[in-house]
Every structure is written in structure tokens, then in C-alpha cells.
């Protein structure tokens, strides 16, 4: 890589010095990080999401700060009743806040080392300073869903943490997991999770992710998933908060007949920045991937969707769909949408689409003609636009939780 693509960043010797000596895996990653740095604006995948602002902040490792004290689950964290609860504070598993009654087939262990190599630049940073996390393994059908709660908090200085999450669904096993990411106000914190997922043959994973970080926080999440033959991976991601958020998800199809849905929605106000970057690596025949992302943007926010679908020569009968829809609530925001199809097979069904627009005047008039004032009408329509995306969430309890989160965002916007 060219020098010009590098970015000075705070994760060098000063950062490392605050931590105990690194093991071999971390040391390797630190050397790679020293060579490659953080991605600058000249790296195509990071062109729309500049890290300059992040790189200027003198983060310290959250693990080295002794003035961070989180002893309760914040009140605004949604309560997922009848679910196993796993709580991470600054990426570190907290048994005292968690509630995982034993269930046959479900194993939760603390992650100690970054054992799966992931190439993405933020995953290298994660491996260099990996500071906790959990591994969730599932055999058979786990009846109770899992709610993983991540709380970020800084003390007197800005703090960063780099957890590893692993979700392993054995062949024919089933799991539903809701991950919700939150934080406490104060100095900025930087959450840099890496999640590795494997769904075994004919396994089913439903993964729902809510990112509602503090408005000053950074959240750059990298997810890599391997999906085996006849397996289903059904994911929905909701982005509702954080100064700079990127949810990067790449999926490798490693068996025939797998079906993947990656759906999501985001709502941005102020100067918030949210990026969905996806990569569907169709390397097996007869697989389907479907992506629908919807965004609502206001203020001077910026929404990014980059979706790449690669279909190998031998991946015949691939069905790959992607759609991005954006709704502008004012003239200030910016949307960058870049769907890419790269197809080497000749018998495939692939398409992408993108729309952007404002609220439909015909819809507004219809509501007005029923006595609904313009402000309430806009609220109803924006909520409807986002609620429509939730139709893709199969789990009814999760759908209610996410719907409540959308209402919460609309209320924050109304009072902003």
C-alpha cells in the first residue's frame, strides 16, 4: 500500500505502553498495524468514511483506565425478557451484570486471544489490542434467545476497546441473538468489535444488531461470516446513534444452498455518520443473498451504503439482490450509495437498486386531509418508512424492541 493511504493514529507505542506485554498473536497484529496503519481516504472502501476525526483523539485503552465505574445496566438499555443476557462493559464480560441460566446446547465462554485472523484493517487494530469478548457456541436448538449488551464508557480520558465476539452455530443448530450497543455520555469512547460467525450445515442464525452509541462515540464493527450448505443466516442491523458508526459485514458462502439476508436501517440527525459496508462472496452454486437497507437522514448527517456482490465462475444459480432506499428530511445530509456486482458465472439472477427521495407530498396531503398536523404527519411517515424495514425481522419480540428504539430516536429528534 502507498504511504499516502496511511493515517497517523493514536494506537502506537504510547497506547501499547499502557497495556501488559502482548502475546504472539497480538504482537503480530501490532507489527502489521505499524506497517499498514489505519485506512486513509485514498483506500476505496474507506473513501466515504474518513477516520481523520477518530485518529486525532488521544485514546487510551479502556482496560488501563482506573476511573471507569459501571455497576448497573443503564436504564435505557432495552430489556429482552426471557432471553439469556450477556453484558460486556468496554468489551469485557461482566458476570455480575449477565444472566445466563444454563441451557443445554448453549456454551458461553470468555474470549482470551484473537485466534481467528481477519484481514480488514480495523480487525487488525482489534487483534493488536484485543481486550475481551465472548464466544457463543450452539448445538441443537437453543430455545431462549441471547441478548448481548455492550456498554461503552470513558473516564477522564477518551477510551478505546477492541472485543472479539464469536458465534458458532453447529450443523442443524438454531440460535437467535440480539446485540445492542450503548454507551455512557462523557469523553468519547471507541468501540471496535470484531465478530466471527460460522453457521454449520443446515444451521439457522438470526442475528439482530442495534447500534445506539452515545452521540460522541465511535463504533467501527467488522463481522465476517462463513455460511455452510443449506444454512440460513438472517441478519438485521439498526443504526440509531453514534458520531461515527460503521457496520461492515462480509459473508463467505462455503456450501451450496445457503440463504443469507442482510437487512438494515439507520436514522441520522445532527452530524452523525453511519456506514453499512457489505460483501457477499458467492463462491458456491445455488445460494441466495438478499439485502435491503433503508436510511432516514436529517441535519448535516451522512449515510453510506457500499454493497459488493461477487459471484465466482462456478457459483451458478446464484440469486443476489441489493436495495438501498434513503429518505431525506432536509437538504443538509449526504448519502453515498455504491452497489457493486461482479459476476463471473453466466446463470445467475442478480440485481441492485437505489432510491432517494423526500417525504411524498401526496402522503402528507392524505394525512392532512384527516386532520393530522404537518409535524405529526411527518413523524408518522418517517416512523412508517423505518417500520417498513422492520417487516424483515422475523422475531416478534425483537421487532417490538427495535420498533420502540425507532420511536425513541424520533422523540430525541423532536426534542433536539
Amino acid at each position: 500500500m502507498k504511504q499516502s493511504a496511511l493515517l497517523d493514529h493514536p494506537f502506537g507505542a504510547r497506547y501499547a505502553a499502557a497495556l501488559p506485554a502482548a502475546d504472539a498473536a497480538r504482537q503480530d497484529a501490532r507489527e502489521t498495524l505499524a506497517l499498514e496503519g489505519l485506512p486513509g481516504p485514498k483506500r476505496e472502501e474507506w473513501r466515504f468514511t474518513p477516520l481523520r476525526g477518530l485518529a486525532k483523539i488521544p485514546f487510551i485503552p479502556a482496560a488501563s483506565a482506573d476511573d471507569i465505574d459501571v455497576c448497573d445496566l443503564p436504564a435505557d438499555v432495552p430489556r429482552f425478557t426471557d432471553a439469556h443476557r450477556i453484558v460486556l462493559v468496554n468489551g469485557v464480560y461482566r458476570a455480575d451484570l449477565s444472566d445466563t441460566a444454563s441451557e443445554t446446547g448453549l456454551t458461553v465462554t470468555e474470549a482470551k486471544t484473537p485466534d481467528h485472523g481477519v484481514d480488514a484493517p480495523l480487525a487488525v487494530l482489534n487483534a493488536a489490542y484485543m481486550s475481551g469478548g465472548v464466544t457463543i457456541s450452539v448445538r441443537g436448538v437453543v430455545a431462549k434467545p441471547v441478548h448481548l449488551v455492550s456498554i461503552g464508557a470513558a473516564g477522564a480520558e477518551p477510551a478505546a476497546f477492541h472485543p472479539r465476539l464469536a458465534i458458532a452455530v453447529a450443523p442443524a443448530a438454531k440460535l437467535t441473538i440480539l446485540e445492542t450497543h450503548h454507551g455512557l455520555p462523557g469523553q468519547p469512547y471507541f468501540s471496535n468489535p470484531v465478530t466471527t460467525i460460522s453457521v454449520g450445515t443446515a444451521g439457522v442464525l438470526r442475528r439482530y444488531v442495534l447500534v445506539r452509541e452515545d452521540s460522541e462515540a465511535f463504533h467501527l464493527a467488522t463481522t465476517v461470516a462463513d455460511v455452510a450448505a443449506d444454512a440460513k443466516f438472517d441478519a438485521f442491523h439498526l443504526g440509531l446513534g453514534g458520531a461515527l458508526v460503521r457496520q461492515e459485514i462480509s459473508v463467505d458462502f462455503v456450501g451450496e444452498g445457503a440463504a443469507v439476508r442482510l437487512n438494515g436501517a439507520y436514522a441520522l440527525m445532527g452530524r452523525a455518520h453511519h456506514d453499512f459496508t457489505t460483501f457477499m462472496n458467492h463462491d458456491m452454486p445455488n445460494c441466495t443473498s438478499s439485502q435491503v437497507f433503508k436510511g432516514v437522514v436529517d441535519g448535516e448527517s451522512r449515510g453510506v451504503y457500499q454493497g459488493r456482490v461477487l459471484v465466482a465462475r462456478h457459483a451458478q444459480k446464484t440469486d443476489g439482490q441489493q436495495l438501498h432506499k434513503a429518505l431525506f428530511l432536509s437538504r443538509g445530509p449526504q448519502i453515498d450509495c455504491k452497489p457493486e456486482l461482479e459476476i463471473y458465472a453466466d446463470d445467475v439472477k442478480c440485481a441492485h437498486g437505489a432510491t432517494t427521495g423526500e417525504l411524498d407530498p401526496d402522503h402528507l396531503f392524505y394525512l392532512a386531509a384527516r386532520g393530522i398536523d404537518p409535524q405529526a404527519a411527518r413523524l408518522l411517515l418517517v416512523q412508517g418508512f423505518l417500520a417498513d424495514a422492520l417487516e424483515n425481522v422475523d422475531d416478534a419480540v425483537v421487532r417490538d424492541i427495535l420498533s420502540g428504539e425507532i420511536s425513541g430516536w424520533l422523540m430525541r429528534k423532536a426534542s433536539a
Partner: protein, 250 residues
């Protein structure tokens, strides 16, 4: 004083004159029908009364209880009692019919200084009115008008009218796209709303609807003008003879 009075109304759209001086007085308790061929300004008239943007009123007044409503926003007019049943109700994905109905009912109740409707009362009320219109209960759980058939959309319009109890109800081509059974059900729904405090303006191309909702007055609109007015027999005459003689006169 007429409940709704339209006085010498002139309207242009994009510089083109559509209505050329319409005057009508609708008294409480009356049902008026406006008939006319396509493109004579029937829908323009209903949209202007309801307050849709994009119409240029160059002259005239629309008075509700003697107050000119042309300066009011569409939502204010609706809360004052004007209701437009749309010819083409819009589909709004993601907004459930029930959330929409509750918002509309509460907007009206707030304007009247009443407390918001409670959830149980709302469900009971909607259920009763849906039964009247032979609508399935679960319809209100669906997104507003999304995937509704033509008949279901029109029934949903009448359901809204029944719930909002307007003083002036304008039905814009409510009969279009309805089969005979749906037409009967919709008409019955309208007929149960007829009463001494309310007036109806029924806009239609065909006389068929007027067999079920029998009007007190019929007006023929051609070239943006009312060219004839009469009783219900005028509708029958139009059905038999067509609009030809009015068209040649205009």
C-alpha cells in the same frame, strides 16, 4: 346560512383555468351530487375545498359556517369538519391503519378540547364501524391501504369518514372501481351518516351510485361551470341522454 357555501370560485392550475365561477350552497342535512364528463373540474373542486396545494384560487370564496376556509391549511380544514374521501387513496407502507386512525381521531379530539381516546375504547369503536362496512377485523393491523383491493380502499375511506364524523363530506368518485356488492355496502355506510348536521358533496361520473345514495340536489359541471341544477330526476335524465347537449352548449 348554508353549512358550506361556494361563491363564484375561479381556479387555475399551472396558469390553465379549470373552474370558471362556481357557486353552490349546501345546507345542513342535504346531499348534493355533482356530475359531469371527465376533465370538467370535478376533482379540482374537491381538492380545492379540502386544501390541496397546487391550485390557484383566482377569485371567490369557500365558506364553512360563513367563515372563509381558503386561507386555512388542509389539516385545519379537516379538523374544522371537512372530509375528502379520495378517488385514489394513497398506500403508505409501514404506517398501520390502526396507528393512522388513532392519530386522526386524536387530532380531532384535541381540537375539540377532548382527551385522547383510550386504547380499549378505540378498538371497540373501530370494530363496530368495521362490522357495519363488512370489513375484516384484522384490516386495521395492515399498512394503510397497502395491498388493499379497490373496494377495500373505498371501504377504508368510508370507515375513516364514519370515525371522524365530519360536517362536510366530499366523496370524490367513490364509486369508481367498486363492484355492485361493494357499492351497496359503501352506500349504506354513507346513508347511515346522513343527518341534520351534515352535508354531502358526491362527485360522480355515473348515475349508478345515486341509486343507492339518493341526492337532494344534482348539479351538472361542464367546462368548470355549473350548467344545470335540479333534483334527483336530473341524474336519471343524464344517464339516459348523456352529457352531449351540455357539452355542445358549453
Amino acid at each position: 346560512m348554508a353549512l358550506l357555501e361556494i361563491k363564484n370560485l375561479h381556479v387555475s392550475v399551472g396558469g390553465k383555468k379549470i373552474l370558471n365561477g362556481i357557486s353552490l350552497a349546501l345546507n345542513a342535512g342535504e346531499v348534493h351530487a355533482i356530475m359531469g364528463p371527465n376533465g370538467t373540474g370535478k376533482s379540482t373542486l374537491s381538492n380545492v375545498i379540502a386544501g390541496r396545494d397546487g391550485y390557484d384560487v383566482t377569485e371567490g370564496q369557500v365558506l364553512l359556517d360563513g367563515q372563509d376556509i381558503l386561507a386555512m391549511e388542509a389539516d385545519e380544514r379537516a379538523r374544522a369538519g371537512v372530509f375528502l374521501a379520495f378517488q385514489y387513496p394513497v398506500e403508505i407502507p409501514g404506517v398501520t391503519t390502526s396507528a393512522f386512525l388513532k392519530t386522526a381521531i386524536n387530532a380531532k379530539r384535541r381540537a375539540e378540547g377532548k382527551p385522547e381516546i383510550d386504547a380499549m375504547e378505540f378498538l371497540k369503536l373501530v370494530k363496530a364501524k368495521q362490522k357495519l362496512l363488512s370489513m375484516p377485523d384484522d384490516m386495521i393491523k395492515r399498512a394503510l391501504n397497502v395491498g388493499f383491493s379497490g373496494g377495500e380502499k373505498k371501504r377504508a375511506e368510508v370507515l375513516q369518514m364514519t370515525l371522524l364524523e365530519p360536517r362536510v363530506a366530499i366523496l370524490d368518485e367513490t364509486d369508481s372501481g367498486l363492484d355492485i356488492d361493494a357499492l351497496k355496502i359503501v352506500s349504506e355506510g354513507v346513508n347511515t351518516l346522513r343527518g341534520p348536521d351534515r352535508t354531502f358533496l358526491i362527485i360522480t361520473h355515473y348515475q349508478r351510485l345515486l341509486n343507492y345514495i339518493v341526492p337532494d340536489h344534482v348539479h351538472v359541471l361542464v367546462g368548470g361551470r355549473v350548467v344545470a341544477s335540479g333534483g334527483k330526476e336530473l341524474a336519471e335524465q343524464l344517464e339516459a341522454e348523456g352529457y352531449a347537449r351540455y357539452l355542445s352548449a358549453a
